[in-house]
Symmetry: C2
Subunit: 288 residues, 2 copies
Amino acid sequence: MAWDDLRTVLALVRHGSLAGAGAALGVNYTTVARRIRRAEGTLGEPLFERLSDGYSPTQAAQLIAEHAQDMEQAEHALMRRMKGAETQLSGPLVITASQLLIANFLTPVLDQFTSAYPAVELRILATNEMLDLSRREADLAVRISRSPGDELTGLRLLSQDTASFATADWAQRISQDPNTMIDWVVYDATPDLPKGVSPDYPNMQVRFRFDDMVALIGAAQAGLGVLRMPMFLGRTIAGLVQVPVLPPRSYADIWVVGHPDVWPSAKVRAFREVLVSHCKANKGLFVA
Amino acid sequence: MAWDDLRTVLALVRHGSLAGAGAALGVNYTTVARRIRRAEGTLGEPLFERLSDGYSPTQAAQLIAEHAQDMEQAEHALMRRMKGAETQLSGPLVITASQLLIANFLTPVLDQFTSAYPAVELRILATNEMLDLSRREADLAVRISRSPGDELTGLRLLSQDTASFATADWAQRISQDPNTMIDWVVYDATPDLPKGVSPDYPNMQVRFRFDDMVALIGAAQAGLGVLRMPMFLGRTIAGLVQVPVLPPRSYADIWVVGHPDVWPSAKVRAFREVLVSHCKANKGLFVA
DNA sequence: GTCTTCATGTGCGAAAATGCATGGATGGAT
DNA sequence: ATCCATCCATGCATTTTCGCACATGAAGAC
């Protein structure tokens, strides 16, 4: 039994269509179709029902997918360990962090790192998604969370507070009349007003909800309302000043996390060192 | 990373030479060389040192082999489970048992089974080696042992005794004069005289040792001495009769064992049924 | 010393796998 | 009702992979 055919079956079970599986495997979809046919011939058993809207796996294909998944895990473990054993400071390195963390705090780290190690091909994945470090979607992640997560190694970089920010216009209005109606712009995931608002400001309402933090910041910059955000963001972003509506409040820590297999790699360690020193030097930015 | 290349690395680490690995994989050895070169190119790292007497794996190759072994286990598990899920009574079925058990007791089972299920391509591995049922070297094994073994399912088929056998000539000589010198021919693995010999025969010596049971039987048939063997064998083999030198003694049971994944297969079950009924019908052959 | 055996590299032609383009079917949005 | 996106099957040209034959080098048997 060809192992690559097993992998192809897994991809097709996962994606449900030849095109999807082909894209995932980096081959033309006709190749997927042919490999499936070959596997069916080898096993003497149909693996998929050809439906008008895609391939539907039979029980046999599901069984294959189940075990091919184990094989895939072994492959990932292998790749992680090979990465972790690397000693040279060249070649690819993949880092992930949230868009805002990168844009507003980490750029000096990237600058310093690529200057120090020009042979490393650094790739940045600026996304809010939690990439799977076990599957090598990234080598190292900077994350805001309460703990590094299962089966990952982590280093606590920073403690941080959140506070409320708005345009200078709002700041002036609020200071002149604490009873004025204060508009909030909030993130979708937090449906209510932030907890811990000061009792000195009795009139508040949620004016807009956004599902995107960048858009939210834009709204605040445009004067649409007050926004709760991490201290470092409010201090960094142009056009916003802190307002006393929400007193500073401790928030989740910032960590650098990686898979223990990958952790010892020379490149990963080098990046960590630059990162840690930059964080130490800028501790004050994050707390009230 | 191509999974089949990982498998090729594993094979080469295991066998140490292109030719050996090629034979194990069922491909030409030049193909092995090329796949290794390709894998080295993909990983950007040498995997083997080319020595005059073969390929010597680097640490990276050993790491690959380690994980490819996990992948192989997953493959074996898959194949076992697919086999176990088979419901049709056709196609290949592999049985293993010792040479002597097959030649002297199991032939009626084979006859009956192939008559009842002519579409099954039955393959017999008549060997004394303990084949690895987890690796699908066989689907079912008839074994003489005290237990079915780790992670295998088993069914106790028969209890059996051993006793001493020799030519009629020897039998007569012994009965005429219990004090005559009695020669033994013994199996290599049991260096001493069998335990439990009757005190009625004081003069005994080991005359020959053999490393092969068939040769041993030939020696006994040629009158070279007395041989301890399972009851059913002594009774079945021409030219030998039981002699009272070694009173019948209980020996290890006969089991049919298989991997639990494969056990439910229709073919495996069908064979088991024929086997069990033949054993039940011939229970008496095995005990004194 | 020579011969045999077992090991690896290389070049060439056959075979297999792959990508691309075309054609056809289905279901949902407009 | 129509258009469009998405899916699949097939045929053809190209690329890649593979097996075979031949050459070579080292180590052990006689």
